[in-house]
Every structure is written in C-alpha cells, then in structure tokens.
C-alpha cells in the first residue's frame, strides 16, 4: 500500500483488520527491523562509533555485546550494520563474516566457513582445500599482508560467543584477537552472548588480547515505561491507510492500558520478566483473538492471553491421565508428605494405594500388580516421575527408586480441573495423613 495521509479514506473492516494484523505481526515477531531501537540509544551510538572506526578509519577493535535472551542484541547489531552500510564507501569496502557458535561447533568448521565467506583463494565454490593448520596459516597470511591503508576492513560477528570459548585451546578466538591487537589488516570482532560471566570462560592469553570492551543490554525499564512500551507496540503508525480506523484503534489501545485488571496482568508479567520477547509473545496471543467480528483488543483478551502464557504445562498433562494413574500420583504425594521427599518405589506406592482401597467399600480400583506397573511405567514415560539414578541394571523394576517431579500445588490444581473426579479420590488427596 502506498503511504497516503488521506484521513478520509475508508476501507472495509475486513481489509483494515488484515492490515492491522500484518503490521502488528511484523512488529511483534521481529520480522522487520525498527527504525530506531527503543531504549538502547547509548549502546547503539557506542557500537556504531566503534564499527565506524574500523570501517572508515582502519582501526582494529573488539567488543562483546552481552545481555539476557530476548534483550535485543542481534537486533541492535543489525540496526547498527544497517546504519553503517548507508555510507557508500563502507558498503564498497567492508567485508563481513558471520559465524554462529551453534553451527560452527569446531574451530575446523569455523575456519572453513571463514574461508568460504571471505572467498579466499583456497576455497573454490564451496569446497575448502587443505587441513586445519594450512587453512589457519592461509587466513593469517591474508590478514597479515594488509595494513591500514591498503587492505579492506573485515568485520567478524560471532553469535553465541560463549560456545566458541569451549573449542579446543580457543584457537580461533586467540588468533582473531591477536590480529585485532597487532597492526595488520583492520578487523573488528563483535561477540554476542547471553552469559554475563563470559570473560571468565576465556583463557588468560585470549583475555589479555581482548579489549575488555563490553556493551550491556540490561533492561532498566520501570513499570510505567513498560506500560508505555506495550501501548506503543500495539498502536498503529500514522501512515495507516484508513485514518479513522487507526484513530479508533489507538484510542481503544489507550483505554486498554488504563484498565485496572490489565495493569495487574501486565504487572505480573513485568515482575517475571522485563524482556521484549516475552512481552511480544503475550501481545501476539492477544492479537490472535482480533478478527472482523471483534475488531479491537479487550481486557478479557489480555487476561486470556496471560492465562495461556502462565499455563502450567504439567497440570495440563495431569488432566489427561487415567484415574488409576492419578491415584498413584496422590499416593506418591502422601509418601512425600510422610517421608519428607525420600524417593519411593512401585511397591511402596502400591502399598499406600492399597491402604486407601481398604477404606473404600467397593473394590472398583482393585487392580493387579502388573496393571499398576503399566500405569507406573506410563507416568515414567511422561517424565512425571524419574528414577533417582540411572543404573537400572541390577534392580528389578518394581524396586527402582523414583522421585515425583510434580509439586503439591500442581496436583491440587489438576484435581480441581480433573473431569468427573470421584469425590473419595479428592478427599483422599486433601486428607493430611493418607
């Protein structure tokens, strides 16, 4: 759609909704880079400065971008690169090598990848010739030959930087940092990692060659700022084709953020995690409920989305167990209460269950040991119980010690929602001493 500021253009509701969905989806799923990354202006400036010094002035540099998952590290780097490459000179000269610790699990693979991406002479098409030592020598040769004036600057981006620190002898890191310290071809080494203690992982000789420059992306949002961020993320931009619809939408978003129940929900989310990704996940769930018949986001939508985000997966799985399996879990809970969390085996659980059956008048659940064993094994397959140690060779299955991986409160929650739960089972669960 062309950007027209015609405020009196009207589109049918269906079309508007589709447009809204598209715009907001792109924003929330980070498929499009924002023009200005919010809240990280200082870091953006710092990184851009640094990379400009390498790209334009030929100075070698190294920096680490550190921040928790979903803080926007890769996004920051992409924005900076986009701004950097606006300069025609830089676009012509700068060489980029992108590595990822998850893919390049070995220095050998990493070296081959670097050779490929730089299109060095020992790489023909896809194949890289030579052994690890030869490749390394070739690369270092190529980098050493240059100097500030005559060679092109190279940018090395190492994603999941902490994984590179686990390679043997940290050869790649050592060599890259070594080149960045000596007066050779200008390179910039940018590492991205989620570990705050990444410097502890580096060997002494590698650490000494690193410039110790770190850019931290630790969110320092306050709750009012967080609320404001939610509002801006949900608001439509000015260039939306149907001006009236956009106005109504933005007004409804504003009232939504002022609603008390919505504020409580957002406070809960803010308390558990401030990062952008979990906020976006919540807003995505809200957005999924918007349709032609419901063209605005209501507080109920946000409450439902929050419920989905905070849903307990294990309690959901407990809902689908058979009655026998549920009774076994309750028996295990009682054993945990009496013996304070000591591990148990099937015999003990069966014994506990039999005590419950003796009190009931009918013997509806009086199953044989093998049937109980099968139910027990199903629970083990669902990983709701786990063996204490994995050496199951010399111990019979029914005597293998296990631990329950579900909490007391999760069991009680599941019992409330369990369909057609017999009352005596519920009472047994809630009684104090089994």
């Amino acid at each position: 759609m062309s950007k027209r500021k015609l405020t009196d253009a009207h589109l049918p509701v269906g079309e508007c909704i589709t447009q809204v969905q598209e715009i907001l989806r792109e924003r929330l799923c980070c498929q499009k880079l924002p023009d200005r990354p919010e809240g990280v202006e200082a870091q953006h400036k710092h990184l851009l400065e640094l990379l400009k010094r390498t790209a334009v002035h030929g100075e070698s540099n190294s920096v680490l971008i550190v921040g928790p998952r979903g803080a926007g590290k890769t996004m920051l780097l992409k924005c900076v690169l986009r701004d950097l490459l606006e300069d025609k000179e830089v676009q012509k000269n700068l060489l980029q090598v992108h590595l990822n610790g998850l893919l390049q699990t070995d220095d050998r693979i990493a070296l081959k990848e670097i050779t490929r991406q730089l299109h060095l002479e020992n790489a023909v098409g896809d194949k890289v010739f030579g052994s690890f030592a030869e490749n390394l020598a070739f690369l270092l040769e190529a980098l050493k030959k240059g100097d500030r004036s005559s060679s092109r600057p190279v940018l090395f981006v190492l994603d999941e930087f902490d994984l590179f620190a686990h390679h043997k002898n940290q050869t790649l890191l050592y060599n890259l940092f070594d080149v960045s310290q000596s007066a050779q071809a200008p390179i910039a080494v940018v590492g991205i990692t989620c570990r705050l203690d990444v410097l502890e992982l580096l060997e002494k000789r590698v650490k000494s060659r690193f410039s110790h420059r770190q850019i931290h992306l630790l969110s320092s949002l306050t709750f009012p700022q967080y609320l404001e961020r939610v509002r801006t993320q949900l608001s439509l931009p000015d260039d939306f084709p149907d001006g009236k619809f956009a106005e109504d939408w933005n007004a409804s978003v504003k009232t939504l953020c002022e609603d008390k129940s919505v504020e409580d929900v957002l406070q809960r989310h803010f308390n558990s995690s401030k990062d952008a990704r979990s906020m976006h996940m919540l807003l995505m769930f809200c957005l999924s409920r918007v349709s032609v018949s419901r063209p605005a986001i209501k507080p109920a939508d946000l409450l439902e989305a929050s419920r989905l985000c905070f849903a307990d997966a294990k309690a959901n799985m407990l809902h689908g167990l058979s009655i026998l399996e549920l009774c076994l879990i309750i028996a295990m809970k009682h054993l945990n209460d009496v013996y304070e969390g000591e591990p148990f085996n099937l015999q003990m659980v069966h014994n506990e269950f039999k005590k419950f059956l003796q009190r009931k008048s009918n013997s509806m659940y009086n199953f044989d040991q093998p049937v109980i064993m099968k139910a027990f094994e199903h629970l083990q397959q669902l990983e709701l119980i786990r063996p204490v140690d994995s050496s199951s060779a010399k111990i019979q299955r029914e005597y293998q010690l296990m631990r329950l991986m579900i909490d007391h409160s999760q069991i009680m929650e599941a019992l409330q929602k369990y369909p057609q739960c017999p009352t005596d089972v519920k009472q047994w669960a809630m009684s104090a001493f089994g």
Binding site: T105, M284, G320
Partner: protein, 414 residues
C-alpha cells in the same frame, strides 16, 4: 473431521501462529490428535512441508537428508557429505533456498521431539532459530512438557500449544466410528460403552482402546451369532463379555500374550483352552527339587535381615501373624553372600545333601534364568553375592509344591 470444539480452537490457533512464529511446540498426551491435526492442516492449506519422525532419525544425518529430500529433491540430499554437521546442512539449505526461493513459508514437522534432547546439544537451539536462514517454521510435537527441553543457557522460546485430551464422551464417539457394517450403530455403541466401563479408569490412550475394541468384538458378538440373545439384551451381552474383558486386562493389555494368541484362544472351545501361556518366563518354568529349595533359601536370605537368621533356622516353631509393616518387602531384595545362602539352604532342606558341584551349578542356572541376580562383580570368585529376583506370589507357589510353609520363616510376617 474434528470432533470437538477444543480441537477446533487448537486448529485455528495453530493456523494463525504457523504463518508467523519461527517455532511452535505442541504438547499433549499420545493419541490426542497432534499429528493428525497437523497433517490435515498442512494438506488442506497445501503448504510445503517435511515431516520427520525423530524415532527414525537415529543420527542427525538422516534428519538432514529427510528435510532436504522433502523440500528440494534427492539431488540436494546427495550434496550432504558423509557425516554432515549442522553447519553443512545450513550451508546447503541456504544454497538451495537461493536457487529455488520459497513463495510461502516452509514447514518442518518433528514428531517425538523429546528424542532431540539426546542428540548434540546445539541441534535443538539451532533448529528453533532456523527461521533466521529462510522463511521456514519448525513445529515440534511431543508428549513431554517444554520445561524439560530447555537448554542450560536458554534458547529462543517456541510458542507453546497444548492439545487437550479426549473426554470419555468423545472417546465413545470416536471409537463408535469403527463400527462393523453388519451390526447397527447402537449395538456397537453399547459394546464400546461396556469396554470403556472396564478400561477407562486404567487407560485413556485412544490407540490401545481401539486395539482392544477390535480384538474383542467377535467374542462380544458370539452369543448373537449363536442365536442365544438378541441385539437389545444388553445385560446378557454384558455378562458374557465382562469376564472376558477383565481377562484381557491381565493378558493382552499387558502384552503378556500376543494379540494373535489372544485371537486364537477365543476361537478355541472354552474347555480346550486351558491356561494362556504368558510370555514371561515365570509362568511356565519347572525347576528341579533342590533348585526350588535354593530359590526359597535365596528369597529368605533376601528378605530377612541377617541378624534374624538364628531365630528362624534353629528349628524352633513360630506362630503365623498378619504383617504389621512390610518394610523389607517394600524396599526390595537385599544382597546376600553365598555362604549365607548355603547355610539357610541346609537348614530348610529336610534330608541331608552333600555340597556337590551339582548344587552349585543349580545356583548358576538360577542366575541364568534370572530368578537370582548376581550382585558382585564377575571377577570376585571367592565371595559372590546374589539377590533374589522373584515375587512373593511366585515363591509361595514354589513353596507349596514342596510343602514348605515359607510365610512362617519370613521376618515381615512375624
């Protein structure tokens, strides 16, 4: 066709998020319709996809091959080197994408995704981010919750969708759809009702229930075929089938007998059938006389504390009380040295028997039959230790055949 509202909600949620989110994690009990809904959706919307079952892909090479094959054909799959790393896969995938760019999002569906945790540590986090490469969405299906998948340093969190399980009414509806054409729907429904009445409290797995329904239907129809009852005589039909289903629970449900044996047994006359020969060794092993006593002695050695041997085995009579607590029986068998076994053996065997090689070889046979377990290491020849691996019922049956009252000699039953 989807049967319930919850499934439809899941389906529309899936349809919405599939297009946008890089990775989706669908969890729910087995046979709750996860794969089914997934495949129907992909087929209806005609989306390019690759389905991988992590059970089949024992090595990552098979996984990569399968994906490349489904999207780009066997030429692309053959470009993979011999033991490809994830880096190779990503490189070839990128190349192929640039050669044949995707007009829509591609989908990779991984079933039994819990097995991905046992492969290389980098595979799962890398797959969750695959969308950064090209327009591809990963969908993981599993019965284990996502909390057990998360790597140590975190990863890109996928969207979590729960597939709810079927209620009893829904199970009834689905199972009734398998009805036999020559009988009415109500007749089959009443059969399913009876089947669920017996099995629902034990098992809610749709596949198991369907299997049981198929196996036992002919027996259900037997009185009808013989003309003894009419279709509407539900009570008589129930009386006929209920003991049969209870027996099925102890045998076919536990896979103690194969489904073939079960069907054959149903075809034979009731008088001739005799006992079903189960699969486990315990049901049809016949031991020599001294082996039985060795086994009894081993059981006593495993379940009595060593300090109590004196009171039992010095030939003094005791009364038989009901057990106050079965502590030793709950904890499992304890190991005992060979000397203790032989001491108890000589005490319980009534006639004098010399410690010949045949006695010792019977001990080894018991170990081979897995009725005893050897606890000590193979190289400890002078003091081997054993444990008794049989259940209370089995040893009582054995004791009865040699007229030995084992309960009198067990500490837990004092």
């Amino acid at each position: 066709s989807f049967l319930n509202m919850e499934h439809n909600i899941c389906r529309s949620a899936l349809q919405y998020f599939m297009i946008i989110y890089p990775s989706i994690f669908i969890y729910g009990h087995r046979a709750s319709g996860k794969s089914h809904v997934m495949h129907v959706l992909l087929k209806e919307l005609e989306l390019p996809h690759a389905t991988v079952s992590c059970v089949e892909c024992v090595s990552v090479a098979l996984l990569f091959e399968q994906v490349l094959l489904s999207f780009f054909g066997c030429d692309a799959a053959s470009l993979l080197p011999r033991s490809p790393s994830l880096s190779d896969f990503v490189r070839i995938y990128r190349q192929q994408c640039s050669q044949s760019p995707a007009k829509q999002t591609r989908y990779i569906v991984m079933e039994k995704a819990e097995l991905l945790r046992d492969t290389d540590a980098n595979l799962l986090p890398a797959l969750l981010r695959l969308q950064e490469l090209d327009n591809v969405t990963i969908i993981l299906l599993s019965e284990i919750v996502w909390d057990k998948f998360r790597p140590n340093t975190g990863c890109f969190e996928p969207l979590l969708l729960h597939f709810p399980d079927y209620s009893k009414g829904e199970l009834q509806q689905i199972l009734s759809q398998d009805r036999h054409p020559s009988y009415t729907a109500e007749f089959y429904s009443s059969y399913i009702n009876i089947l669920l009445g017996v099995f629902y409290s034990v098992c809610r797995d749709l596949r198991e229930l369907r299997h049981l329904a198929a196996l036992n239907f002919s027996k259900f129809c037997e009185p009808l075929a013989e003309g003894k009852v009419k279709e509407t005589d539900t009570h008589k039909l129930w009386r006929n089938i209920e003991p049969h289903l209870k027996k099925a629970m102890q045998t076919v449900y536990l896979r103690e007998v194969s489904s073939l044996q079960w069907e054959q047994m149903q075809q034979m006359e009731e008088k001739e059938s005799g006992a079903l020969r189960g699969l486990s060794a315990h049901t049809h092993v016949e031991l020599p006389y001294y082996s039985k006593f060795l086994l009894i002695a081993a059981y006593l050695a495993s379940y009595n504390p060593a300090r109590t041997d004196k009171r039992f085995f010095l030939k003094v009579d005791r009364f038989n009380f009901t057990p106050k607590n079965l502590l030793n029986h709950l904890l499992g068998p304890k190991p005992f040295p060979l000397d203790r076994l032989l001491a108890i053996f000589y005490s319980v065997v009534d006639n004098r028997v010399a410690p010949t090689a045949s006695i010792f070889s019977q001990i080894s046979s018991l170990v081979t039959l897995q009725l005893l377990t050897q606890v000590s290491h193979d190289d400890q020849l002078d003091a081997p230790k054993y444990k008794c691996a049989v259940s209370m019922d089995f040893i009582c049956a054995i004791s009865r055949t040699v007229n030995f009252d084992i309960v009198k000699y067990l500490y837990d039953f004092l």
